[in-house]
């Protein structure tokens, strides 16, 4: 793999959002507050199986978990 972030299991979108977060955090205070509101994400999601809704989970945590899992698979 050519990209270190891909080898560690991140998707391109995750990679982008991490990069964007870093940029936002390194801004000056007044601009940072406005910018950080654009990076907020409070979605919840549920998997469906055979017409039944599964458990409602926080999307951010689930994404992080699935990427950590993908990372451990590709590195081992």
């Amino acid at each position: 793999m050519a990209f270190a972030w891909k080898a560690s299991g991140l998707t391109y979108n995750k990679y982008l959002s991490v990069a964007a977060r870093v940029v936002r955090r390194s801004l000056k205070d007044d601009k940072r507050l406005a910018a950080e509101r654009r990076g907020e994400m409070e979605l919840r999601f549920a998997k469906w199986n055979g017409g039944k809704q599964g458990e409602n989970k926080s999307l951010a945590e689930a994404n992080a978990a699935s990427m950590a899992e993908a990372g451990s698979h590709s590195s081992s």
Binding site: N13, E40, Q53
Partner: protein, 295 residues
């Protein structure tokens, strides 16, 4: 003395009246209560309209920005003349961009209807639902097709982080889809909207497009581009859907306030008329009573 004596009988007469004429004639108290509750409802709908109007301007600004963004992102596929692969064995994924909140007319049911029409053509398509409203509607008719649902959409103007997180979760789905179609409400003008779809292509479809070689993209980054394009399209759909929802809510609340105003007028007239009738009735009874006892 006389009038005081006449009153208890009169009171008894008025209190027995509603029982007799309940079907045709409401009592004063009933009309007053109704009037009060309609006034309260009008207050609420008016406030909601004002809130929606202020949110609408922000949502519209976000929409024009994101539309530019999404169209620029799609320009690549237009230049490359990308077309969805026509194959029966691979599934199609439909992403429905609705939201959590109601009270905004028929924009959610419009989306659901559009999705149901698409499902008639492709009965085995999978559905990803963004927002509680369409989830409730689609889970009744085609719950078996739903693979993922997202809640918390549409509280505020959608951010790109939202779109990215959703795109991630869609990419992580096990099934290999030939085509992703995002169904959203297209903002035509402040009064009207239209359920439309944007295509987000699979890697295979992008690689097979006729003019693709002009871009000189490595195979390795193709997947990244596809994920990014999906997030772009989702962001576009979410922002435009949000603007539509706000404008639809503004219109719905405007109509509700108008209807409440009409009803208030009607009930006010009815109230005045009934009050006069009651007073006239009382006077007639007193006068006849006085005349009778004088003789």
């Amino acid at each position: 003395m006389l009038s005081r004596a006449a009153r208890p009988a009169l009171r008894a007469a008025t209190s027995t009246r509603p029982a007799q004429n309940a079907a045709t004639f409401a009592t004063l108290r009933e009309i007053e209560d109704r009037l009060k509750s309609i006034r309260n409802i009008e207050k609420i709908t008016k406030t909601m309209k004002i809130v929606a109007s202020t949110k609408l301007t922000r949502a519209q600004r976000a929409m024009t920005n994101s539309r530019q963004y999404g169209q620029t992102s799609n320009e690549v596929f237009e230049q490359a003349e990308t077309k969805p692969i026509e194959s029966d064995d691979k599934k199609v994924l439909i992403v429905v961009a609705s939201s959590d909140k109601g009270l905004c007319g028929g924009i959610h049911s419009g989306l659901s209807k559009k999705v149901r029409r698409m499902l008639v053509e492709k009965p085995n398509a999978d559905i990803v639902v963004l927002g509680e409203k369409c989830k409730a509607q689609l889970s009744r008719s085609s719950g078996r097709n739903i693979v993922l649902s997202f809640a918390g959409v549409g509280k505020d103007v959608p951010t790109f982080a939202d779109a990215q997180a959703i795109a991630d979760q869609i990419v992580l789905l096990q099934t290999d889809y030939s085509d992703v179609q995002i169904v959203y409400n297209k903002f035509v003008n402040a009064q009207s909207y239209e359920a439309t779809q944007i295509e987000a292509f699979s890697e295979e479809a992008i690689a097979n497009s006729p003019n693709f070689s002009a871009f000189e993209i490595d195979d390795e980054v193709l997947g990244n581009m596809r994920e990014y394009a999906l997030a772009n399209s989702l962001f576009w759909a979410l922002a435009e859907g949000h603007a539509c929802e706000q404008s639809a809510r503004r219109n719905a609340m405007d109509n509700a306030s108008k209807n409440a105003g009409d009803m208030i007028n009607k009930y006010q007239i009815l109230f005045n008329r009934t009050r006069q009738a009651v007073i006239t009735g009382e006077l007639v009874e007193i006068i006849t009573g006085a005349a009778a006892s004088e003789e």
